[in-house]
């Protein structure tokens, strides 16, 4: 009988090999899963999280990656991240330049949908949201700073993003591409800011009540009216400049509507104005 090049293994040797192989499998699978920490710890991406999101580390831990927040958002602002986000796979985020959170759901539906408290249930109104803070960049390009007006579609005819214009349709957001503007001085970021719109609405109601016309204020809920302004055009040395104020919640509508390419205002999710009781700031 000729000798085989391969040695025959005894059952004990075979068992030992299988054991080692299984250790390797365990370490391998565990290791691959741990690689998901690299994009998170390396902060490869800074994501704008949905309203009510906890501080990033807590948010990633608490999120069960089910996408119920995605399903309830009327403007489809919320997207789930891919495996390129590592541990953040399946975790919701908002890319405000494509579609900002415009609060057209009225009741923070994503917060209500969240089954694990990754989006905290303690908040109910837009001014209590704390996703981040708007930041102006490259102000030299800003139309207002240059004293220019704006006429036409803010983001062009092909833009899919939606916004609710209460004066057109109180309940349904419409496409930005279906709503042309004609402004003498561009103030889109201030004009469309949901916080500013909320403040203006409350002020109008207050004025009407004073005149005794309506009794709307009586049914107003606590915190319904934003206490602080979020953005305004300030005259700085004779130049009208968008300035971000303490009431900014980071919803990203200003970034979405900014007609300049790239946008003059961007969201910064690493900063916070601590508007909410949320743990984003803790």
């Amino acid at each position: 009988m000729s000798k085989k090049p391969q040695k025959r293994l005894t059952p004990k040797q075979r068992e030992r090999r299988q054991f080692l192989r299984s250790i390797a499998l365990t370490v391998g699978v565990g290791g691959i899963a741990l690689m998901g920490m690299v994009p998170v710890l390396g902060k490869w991406v800074q994501r704008l999280r949905p309203p009510g999101a906890l501080k990033e580390e807590k948010f990633l831990a608490a999120c069960i990656k089910c996408g119920q927040c995605v399903q309830v958002c009327p403007v489809e602002a919320i997207k789930l991240a891919d495996l390129t986000d590592g541990l953040g796979v399946g975790v919701p985020h908002i890319d405000p330049r494509d579609q900002a959170c415009d609060f057209s759901c009225d009741g923070l539906q994503c917060v209500l949908a969240c089954p694990t408290g990754a989006l905290i249930h303690e908040i109910s109104f837009e001014s209590e949201v704390d996703m981040g803070v708007a930041r102006t960049v490259n102000l030299k390009q800003c139309l207002a700073v240059n004293g220019q007006g704006f006429k036409g579609l803010a983001r062009g005819a092909d833009f899919d993003g939606k916004l609710r214009y209460a004066e057109i349709d109180r309940w349904n957001p419409i496409k930005l591409a279906d709503h042309p503007y004609d402004l003498e001085l561009c103030d889109l970021c201030v004009r469309q800011c949901p916080i500013e719109i909320n403040i203006a609405k409350c002020a109008a109601e207050d004025a009407q009540q004073k005149e005794g016309k309506v009794d709307l204020v009586a049914v107003r809920q606590k915190n319904e009216c934003a206490p602080k302004h979020a953005i305004e055009l300030q005259n700085i040395n004779g130049v009208m400049t968008p300035v971000i104020l303490d009431g900014c919640v980071g919803c990203g509508v200003c970034e979405m509507v900014c007609p300049v390419e790239p946008a003059v205002i961007v969201m910064d999710s690493s900063e916070s104005r601590a508007n909410s009781e949320g743990m984003r700031t803790l």
Partner: protein
Amino acid sequence: MSTVFESIRVLLGGTPKRVAKKDLPEEVRELHAHKFADKERVEKIHIELAEKHANPPTEKRRLKRWAVLIAVNLLFVVSYHLDIQLLEGALTASRFAGFHMADLNSALQVMLAFKHVVINLVIGTVTVFILWWLLGGRTFCSWVCPYHLVAEWAEMLHLKLIDKGWAKDIQFDRRSRTWLWLVFVILAVVTGYTVYETISPTGILSRALIYGPGVALIWVSLLLLFEIFFSRRAWCRYACPIGLTYGIVGATSPFTVHYKLPNCFHEGECRKVCLVPHVLDTVLKGKAKALEVDIGADCTRCLRCVDACPTGALTFKYKGLSS
């Protein structure tokens, strides 16, 4: 009770305990001794089997199970895209007609990583626990998990390639699944992240179906390729912590596959199709400890063995409903 512990021990990776011949009950020994006396019957079974192998019949129960699995996953997709709102979310967590449901392993990962549990998650977890206890625990795997379905298709290919000698079936120690379950529990507690969810093919596939595909599917494809060429059903057999979690839930479930020794002629057809053949250790000649045996916790209740058995020795039963 001891059978439940034994069943969990095997689930965790232990080798099924065997009983010495002299310790078997009298009636079982009797049966083992006389089993092949009826030569004519055995001959007939072999002819039937040869026919079955030449012309494999459609596995009706398997097709029904696939239909259920696809229907459940499609319900998620349809609920979202047609805005029916019947089953919102994904397999990791959802609302069925408004009621919270949470996958037990995902909920466990979140609880351990977040270290804080909101009431909705408790409701969802308890609901799903009761649901799968009633339905058999790992029934989740074979009747709902989308990875199980693609892995079954990969397995069909794998078996064809094995016949041609183009693939092999590397076996691992089944305890590796228990180790991985522990590894992911510890990682969730220590790192504060739901580490397992990163690679969970169940979660990835469920979200891909509902919210659209992504590069995460590459990971799932790699798993399938590994199973096709190197190791039959490796993920479900040796790695998936979800399977272990549901296995523990199903250990005391009233829904089990049921073995009847008097009908068994030890042809071994059931073990050939089984994802977890160690649960069928009892069907080996001389191994059954009683005339009737409930199949253990690791069984996914896929019912392929029920279809495969040529002599009707394997059935399924619901304790308290059928005899």
